[in-house]
């Protein structure tokens, strides 16, 4: 998992409330053998016509937001099915942070497992950032996990809360595997002892 420390980037404004995981990645893309590669199908049904053409009005199809790394979203982002394909698709597209007033619980946790930071802020803060996001490449938003702040392009800074352990894991890029790898000295030692005691294994 990639570390998340600070991020300055373009934010896509998606003021729609209740964006569910079916919208984020429709079910026909769950048969994949991959976690990666889902980015092209992110928001598939909002983004493409049934015959596969881009819908020009959709935010991520517009030149100003094609390179977005942040989404500023309406309430209750990520509700619906628990599919981990949703954060996989966001990440593959390049989104590392989603800002909203609220998130669905499972999606919220799945984000952390995949190196995405979901930030919960009060309505006024989200409104302020939404305005910024609407300016596209002209207004970059900065997210600082260490200091737990989000700064708008005019310098206004908003503080956010995050679980200390989740913060630790994200700052250091640690998932379960990462955490186990912190114990690699113990694994090395075990392997050495094992090679003596049970050389056939």
């Amino acid at each position: 998992m990639d570390k998340f420390t600070t991020l300055t980037g373009i934010a896509a404004p998606m003021p729609l409330v209740n964006i569910d995981t079916d919208m984020i990645i429709p079910k026909q893309f769950l048969k994949t053998i991959k976690r990666s590669g889902l980015g092209v199908n992110l928001f598939d049904e909002m983004r493409y016509t049934p015959d596969g053409k881009e819908i020009p009005d959709f935010v991520l199809n517009q030149p100003a937001w094609r390179e977005s790394q942040i989404i500023v979203a309406g309430d209750n982002f990520g509700c619906g099915s628990s599919r981990e394909h949703a954060p996989w698709a966001l990440l593959d597209f390049g989104i590392r942070c989603v800002i909203s007033t609220s998130f669905a619980d499972i999606f919220f946790n799945n984000c952390f497992k995949n190196g995405i930071l979901p930030v919960v802020l009060p309505q006024e803060a989200v409104d302020h950032l939404m305005d910024d996001a609407k300016k596209g490449a002209n207004a970059r938003i900065t997210v600082d996990l260490e200091n737990q702040t989000v700064s708008a392009s005019d310098g206004t800074s908003f503080a956010f809360e995050v679980d200390a352990f989740k913060k630790h894991c994200l700052l250091n890029g640690l998932d379960d595997i990462g955490l186990t790898m912190e114990k690699s000295a113990a694994i090395d030692a075990f392997e050495r002892a094992n090679a003596m005691a049970r050389p056939w294994a």
Partner: protein, 472 residues
């Protein structure tokens, strides 16, 4: 002096890398078996994070679930998703440098048959695979678990698994088995007695004279279905038979290492007075040839019984039994031996080994499939297939009218082209009779290879002892 320990305790203790304050352990994994269905996202995860497979020489990959069992599969797989998964395994295995048996390799087969056959599975080891029937390897006195895809990635990257210890359960089968009764009947009878949740939270150690008397193949059949009893793993203490089976296998230790291994393996037994949290005892002579009538592996009855009624059960099982009866198209009170079959499937990781094929062939020799019945034999590995051909078993099956297929999971789960049609009824040597398992709407009766052979001859579920009594 340490307190007396069970076999499970001993293997566990020898593999703990680290223990957290809350008792969660990091367990070292000696062998990681990999197949095409549950591994693609795990390898992908490694690629995305720039990680390597920590111990490629302890990681063994083989495609089995999706592969067709007909000729030409090396060059073409019709179903696109299956083909993509098989190709992904091929690419991942080569890129990450793990041990690999592609479909073109004579050693290819069902992962749980290939592991022991090649000597990867050894006593006292921890073995995992992204497949619940990994319990099979417990027959060698190894601790063998099924794991999920995220855990597959964890093991690939770290060669360890985060685990909490299970409780100890002892299943003792005393005395001798009667003629016509096999390892499959033992394991089904245990599930029939304990239920599919009876083993939940436990690791089972099978013991007793009837278990000792079983061959290694039979012991694998017993452990294979520990999972159907809800247990995480099932194991059997290694003995001379185990050592004989292992000796000389390609990846078994040789020379001085063999001697050292043998000395260690001989310490792998449950100490006198060790504590079991749960004990189940069944008399070997009480076990009859059994079949399943419903859609849960616990729906087990002796072949001499009749189809039960939903009212015979209690609680939530009443509704489940009714649903099973409807799905299976059975009427309460009818004799099990009056149930006609359309197909017979001999194979799977439960009963796809050479001994299973020998046993079925012994019944089928000189006989024919009943008219209208479709028969399929799918050896568990390319080597089992070869051996069966050399021993003349393949000829017996073909003379009887069976299709003689290439190795793979085949009909056991119908992810490949081998499937039942809706409403088709099958006598099967596999391990799951769930709705739709062998194909949408397909009806599965689980049984031993000899019982499946008997059903093939008569066209209905049959007590194999009657066939055995007939002189050929």
């Amino acid at each position: 002096m340490t307190a007396p320990r069970t076999l499970y305790d001993k293997i566990w203790d020898d593999h703990v890398v680290h223990t957290s304050e809350d008792g969660t352990c990091l367990l070292y994994i000696d062998r990681h078996l990999v197949h095409e269905v549950t591994s693609p996202q795990a390898f992908e995860g490694l690629r995305m994070t720039g990680r390597k497979v920590r111990a490629p020489e302890k990681t063994i990959a083989v495609p089995d679930h999706n592969v067709p069992t007909t000729a030409g599969r090396e060059t073409h797989i019709d179903n696109e998703e299956s083909r993509i998964q098989v190709e992904a395994l091929d690419k991942n295995a080569r890129e990450f440098g793990v041990v690999y048996y592609p479909v073109t390799d004579i050693r290819q087969g069902i992962v749980h048959i290939v592991g022991p056959e090649q000597g990867w599975t050894l006593p006292g080891m921890t073995v995992v695979c992204g497949d619940s029937h990994t319990a099979t390897h417990g027959a060698f006195g190894s601790l063998a678990h099924g794991i999920g895809t995220s855990e597959v990635e964890h093991v690939l990257a770290t060669q360890t698994l985060i685990q909490k210890k299970s409780k100890n359960m002892k299943v003792e089968i005393t005395g001798k088995l009667r003629p016509g009764v096999t390892a499959k009947d033992i394991t089904l009878a245990v599930i029939g007695k304990t239920g599919t949740a009876g083993g939940t939270g436990y690791v089972i150690e099978y013991c007793g004279e009837a278990i000792r008397d079983l061959s290694m193949e039979g012991r694998m059949t017993v452990c294979n279905m520990a999972i159907e009893g809800g247990a995480r793993a099932g194991l059997i203490a290694p003995d001379e038979k185990t050592f004989q089976y292992v000796m000389g296998r390609p990846h078994a230790p040789k020379g001085a290492k063999w001697e050292a291994a043998l000395a260690y393996w001989k310490t792998l037994f449950t100490d006198e007075g060790a504590h079991f949290d749960k004990v189940v005892t069944i008399k070997g002579e009480d076990i009859a040839p059994v079949v399943t009538w419903g859609t849960s592996p616990e729906d087990v009855l002796p072949i001499t019984a009749t189809v039960p009624a939903a009212e015979d059960f209690e609680g939530g099982k009443v509704q489940a039994a009714q649903r099973s009866l409807d799905y299976m198209g059975l009427t309460p009170g009818m004799k099990l031996t009056d149930i006609r079959v359309d197909a017979v499937f001999i194979g799977s990781c439960t009963n796809g080994r050479i001994e299973d094929l020998r046993a079925a062939a012994a019944i089928l020799k000189g006989r024919k499939l009943a008219p209208g019945v479709r028969g399929m034999v799918v050896p568990g590995s390319g080597l089992v297939r070869l051996q069966a051909e050399e021993e003349g078993l393949a000829q017996i099956f073909q003379d009887a009218g069976f299709e003689w297929r290439l190795a793979g999971c085949s009909m056991c789960l119908g992810m490949n082209p081998d499937q039942l049609a809706p409403g088709e009824r099958c006598a099967a040597t596999s391990n799951r009779n769930f709705e739709g398992r062998m194909g949408r709407g397909g009806r599965t009766h689980l049984m031993s290879p000899v019982m499946a052979a008997a059903a093939a001859i008569t066209g209905h579920l049959t007590d194999v002892r009657e066939i055995m009594a007939e002189a050929v």
